[in-house]
Amino acid sequence: MAMPPARRPQGRPAPAPGLLRRIDAFARFAFPGFSTAFLMVLAAAPVSLPSPVFAVALPCVAFWSVFRPAAMTPPIVLLLGLLLDLLTLAPLGVSVLVLLAVHALALRLRRFLARQSFLMVWLAFCLAGLGAAALFWGLQALLSLRLPPFAPALHAAMLAAGFYPAIALVLTRVHEAMLQAENAP
């Protein structure tokens, strides 16, 4: 599952990467980052609801970090974090660190998580989301030198936990489709 996309099964000479093939590979590589950014922008649309940008970004980053780390590399996470910082009104750099922490945690646990059932992954994500919200809150307090209310961070964590199944359902489909495309001769 964690195979880099370029590697092919043994015993068959790899075909020369044509233009179409390369575009295909690049699309697969770029999809997680771009789709996450797009979702975040959509979530930041000015509607009368509380902004769910953080709650959308967290499941996407966690999912791709666990199941396709080759396409969710640290630089991409950094860029997504910057986007998140700019879309929300958080102090610059806070979301970057939070997303990187989630990414690092997911990388560390991915061998374990990839074998678990969906429910276990969700549970782990809930815990990670809570930790991320706490980290977010702590960094915010540190940077502004006063205690912001904890409730919004908690709400964001709960919202992220609630969004995760829906997002994971769609992303799992996409991920499976990608795997099929990669393993096709």
């Binding site: 390369r22 590979a25 690049f26 922008v41 590399t73 640290p74 986007l83 102090p91 610059l92 690092a104």
Partner: protein, 288 residues
């Protein structure tokens, strides 16, 4: 993609996470050092994203209006029943009103009652409050050729406001009912008792000089009285409220603290103030 040897690529991958975390701290420091940087970046980003949101706004509005529609449909039934009931009640009142109107007509014909002419009025915009001799007065902007006279009655959309005390060539001053100098002859609507409403510069003018044996009741409607020929009878003024000390006051219908425009009615009454007989404002507005 750049082709790299596998060990190098692995080393890069292993190194990139610490590097990025360091970069995150760097960004944090940068944001702390240059507080305007984030604002500038945010404004650039929203400039870039505004076309997307503009494109999204249309379907969003459609979805929202559809949701509203559904909610409206859900409440439609209840609303319908409510309206039906209200309609029934209004029909009843309508019938009553018609009956009373015909009865009134009949009685008038029998009494040879002279009907009052419909009053002419002009509407003028309030341009300033305060100023002048009075503590509670407003200045109206009027056109250069207006027919406003001293002693005309000013009403807003809810009720009595005051009287015109000074008329200039392009402006007029209205003494509000709350001013210390204002004395308005009023009638308590239920007991039909006459009284005088005296301003106190506060929000609620006081009632004074009601006849013996009548006590102003909380919530009683107060209307103008035709006594002294200064006002027509029956203009809505306010309701009686008892102050904490038990003094009857009048809560005015008119919202004197947010007057935008007032209507000046010409009832053709020339009581108390002979028009333009004095150059400076009269110290007393009503008769005690």
């Amino acid at each position: 993609m750049i082709r790299l040897s596998i060990p190098l690529r692995q080393a890069l991958a292993r190194l990139s996470l610490p590097l990025m975390i360091a970069a995150a701290f760097g960004v944090m420091l940068l944001g702390k050092a240059d507080a305007l940087l984030a604002e500038r970046l945010r404004s650039h980003l929203s400039d870039a994203l505004s076309p997307i949101y503009a494109a999204l706004a249309e379907p969003m509005a459609a979805i929202r209006s559809a949701a509203e529609e559904v909610r409206g449909l859900a409440t439609l039934r209840e609303e319908n029943a409510q309206l039906r009931e209200e309609n029934e009640r209004l029909r009843h009142w309508h019938a009553t009103a018609l009956a009373l109107e015909t009865e009134n007509e009949l009685l008038r014909r029998q009494l040879n009652f002279l009907p009052e002419a419909a009053p002419a009025f002009v509407t003028a915009r309030v341009v300033a409050d305060g100023g002048g001799t009075y503590a509670r007065a407003v200045l109206l902007a009027t056109g250069p050729q207006h027919a406003i006279r001293k002693g005309q009655v000013a009403l807003d959309e809810r009720g009595f406001v005051g009287r015109v005390t000074e008329v200039g060539s392009r402006s007029a001053r209205v003494l509000l009912a709350t001013d210390m100098n204002s004395r308005i002859p009023v009638t308590l609507e239920q007991s039909r008792a006459r009284a005088v409403m005296a301003g106190s510069n506060g929000a609620r003018p006081r009632l004074a000089h009601w006849p013996e044996g009548v006590i102003p009741v909380e919530g009683e409607r107060v209307v103008t009285s035709a006594e002294a020929g200064a006002f027509p009878a029956g203009l809505p003024v306010g309701v009686v409220r008892l102050s904490p000390q038990g003094v009857p006051e009048v809560e005015l219908f008119a919202r004197l603290d947010r007057l935008d425009a007032v209507r000046l009615f010409d009832y053709g009454l020339r009581g108390i103030l002979p028009p333009e007989s004095v150059a400076r404002p009269e110290p007393r507005q009503g008769r005690r």
